[in-house]
């Protein structure tokens, strides 16, 4: 960073810099506590998870993960004694609590739904966004600014405000609780972000490249496909990750429009019930698995975050 040296003139003394670093690190550590805590909870046993005082040091257990992926039922001690010896480590873990595994839970299915709907809607939103952004970036479109503002303004609407008609519409069309319905819905929500971000990225590609291609006898489509798209690769990837994260995190529509078949993970995680309320280790485990991809993508995306969160309004 060359700025660090040039800024020395007006700026921070070494001690000032150290003090700033200290404050930022303290903030970062405090802000990490809830996240670390929930990840740790996923590795606790149910009694440890609700112990007082809260246990920072504990014997790790995979019970939360086992409970997350299995359905279990409580049995009488007599019945437990009559069973043949456990066949696997998770079987043994569950039997310690006088329970037997009755089958897989629905978590894996909900997680897969999130993946399918997330990737499906991301692909569509980025596809539509790329071509629309190219159109807005390169051609004279009547009412261009109004159309762009219209696209942005669709994002201002509270999802609940349009949920009722969408609910009625989906009921009539048979799209309620289907992958297709959710993919279309999330595509609609994401496409505004996708157009705005990609327009910013495509605006930055010099027009001369395409013009050269057009002069060489490429058609407009060929120039778009062979010249612009490769140049916009990074922008498209960054936009895709933003769309994916949104679909992955979305809750309101998923709660109102899905119940079984196409339900995604966010409305499911809060209802992972154990005996006597939420099964916190299982919730912790589910949360950890759900947040892990986001952490990965955030690190991958860190250079483009600013653009993404401001719809391309602020660039570095």
């Amino acid at each position: 960073m060359s700025a660090a040296t040039t800024r020395m003139g007006h700026g921070p003394s070494l001690w000032g810099q150290r003090f700033a670093a200290l404050l930022v690190i303290v903030y970062a550590l405090i802000t990490m506590i809830p996240l670390v805590w929930i990840v740790l909870t996923g590795l606790k046993t149910p009694p440890d998870a609700i112990a007082y005082p809260p246990k920072v040091v504990f014997e790790p257990s995979l019970e939360g993960y086992v409970n997350l992926f299995t359905a279990r039922s409580r049995q009488t001690p007599q019945y437990m004694a009559s069973l043949p010896p456990p066949t696997s480590w998770y079987d043994e873990l569950v039997r310690k609590r006088n329970m037997v595994i009755t089958g897989p839970s629905r978590f894996a299915g909900r997680y897969m739904n999130s993946v399918i709907i997330g990737f499906g809607s991301t692909f569509l939103a980025v596809f539509l966004g790329t071509i629309a952004a190219y159109g807005f970036s390169r051609f004279k479109v009547p009412l261009k600014d109004d159309l762009l503002f219209f696209i942005l303004s669709t994002r201002m609407m509270p999802p609940i405000a349009v949920a009722v008609p969408i609910f009625l519409m989906y009921r009539a069309l048979g799209l309620s609780d289907t992958y297709l319905g959710m993919i279309i819905l999330y595509t609609m929500v994401n496409v505004s972000l996708s157009v705005w971000l990609l327009k910013g990225f495509i605006d930055e590609i010099p027009m001369e490249y395409e013009e050269a291609a057009l002069v060489d006898g490429y058609s407009r489509m060929q120039a778009f496909w062979k010249v612009v798209l490769p140049q916009a690769k990074t922008g498209i990837a960054a936009t895709a990750i933003f769309c994916l994260i949104f679909s992955w995190n979305e809750y309101a529509f998923a709660l109102l429009l899905t119940s079984g078949e196409a339900q995604t993970a966010p409305p499911f995680i809060p209802i992972i019930i154990g005996e006597g309320g939420l099964d916190w280790p299982a919730v912790g485990a589910g949360t950890t698995l759900f947040l892990l991809p986001i952490v990965f993508f955030t690190v991958l995306l860190r250079k483009h975050l600013l653009r993404g969160i401001t719809f391309g309004a602020v660039r570095k």
Partner: protein, 313 residues
């Protein structure tokens, strides 16, 4: 600028090659590229919105599709504006939006100023700080209920470590619940304000500070007359985005307090969901949705005008 016929282009941009491209005309390509997006938004956003407006004038109930629909004019709006509860929900929303944005601006700007000192390793710490805002608000709401547990929660434990409060419930207490959601929102979105402010700070050219040094302006003076005015448009943009998002807030708060205790934290969106999908008063809830949307849209537009003025200064 994209017509393929020559003359006007030659005037405006003389150095530009004149060509005729093969295949579809540019105009056709433009429409083929843009119309799918517009059509999708019209079908799944504007059409439902107009439908909501229509429903707001009727007595429709979505759980009784067979029942004849009655046109009731402005009755829903009238009942809405006369209802005292609505003001309570709007007050709860205002408290949440106002305080969470205030705290995020203070903390976010502060952090940005600190990080802008470019200490060693600042990039790594910045990425760590950014994490909360990328998470699913609903899931955040769920695990904060665990963190806020009166007995075993880590939050209460830490608070008790510093001040001996005994057992208390952030989410269950009438006085604390509104702050519990403000706190979680601040935890989640401070990095958002920070990141935008950081961009603002980095856009200030060094020579301005150098000139101020030459004029022997104090650090304090430099902050008030250079840093703050230059960051202001960025800060205002961050506030705009946060205000719109928090006005719509639903997921995190539903999972954390679900509006309770009583209806202390029942924000506008949560009440809307209750009316629409639990009491099934579709007409009434549609009227509320229309009022909310008009408010956000109107306030947003006025704010953007104001923002543009600040930018031009």
């Amino acid at each position: 600028m994209t017509e393929t016929t020559g003359a006007p282009i030659a005037v405006t941009r003389p150095g530009r090659p004149i060509f005729r491209s093969r295949g579809l005309s540019d105009r056709a390509v433009a429409w083929i590229f843009i119309s799918p997006t517009i059509l999708l938004l019209l079908a799944i956003n504007i059409f439902p919105l107009l439908w909501t407006v229509y429903l707001s004038f009727t007595s429709y109930r979505a759980n009784q599709p067979g029942r004849p629909v009655r046109w009731v004019g402005f009755e829903n709006y009238q009942r809405l504006l006369e209802s005292e509860d609505i003001w309570g929900y709007l007050q709860a929303t205002a408290h949440f939006v106002g305080w969470s944005i205030f705290l995020q601006v203070v903390l976010g700007l502060g952090l940005a100023l600190l990080i802008n000192r470019q200490f060693k390793g600042h990039a790594t710490w910045t990425t760590l700080i950014l994490l909360p805002m990328m998470l699913s608000p609903a899931v955040v709401g769920v695990f904060w209920t665990y963190i806020y547990q009166p007995q075993s929660g880590i939050f209460n434990y830490i608070v008790n470590f510093f001040i001996d409060e005994g057992s208390f419930s952030m989410v269950g207490d009438v006085n604390l619940a509104p702050w519990s959601i403000v706190l979680v929102d601040t935890w989640m979105w401070t990095p958002y304000v920070m990141l935008i402010c950081l961009a603002g700070l980095r856009s200030i050219p060094d020579y301005i500070y150098e000139a101020a040094e030459v004029d022997r302006a104090s650090k304090w003076r430099q902050f008030w007359s250079i840093t703050l005015p230059m960051v202001l448009p960025f800060l205002m943009l961050a506030v705009l985005f946060r205000a719109i998002e928090n006005f719509k807030m639903f997921d995190m708060v539903v999972e954390l307090t679900s509006g309770g205790p009583g209806s202390i934290t029942e924000l506008a969106s949560i009440n809307l969901k209750r009316e629409a999908f639990e009491k099934w008063r579709t007409g009434y809830s549609s009227a509320f949705a229309v009022i909310l949307f008009v408010t956000v849209f109107g306030a947003g537009n006025i704010y953007v005008k104001f923002l543009n003025k600040v930018k031009q200064r």
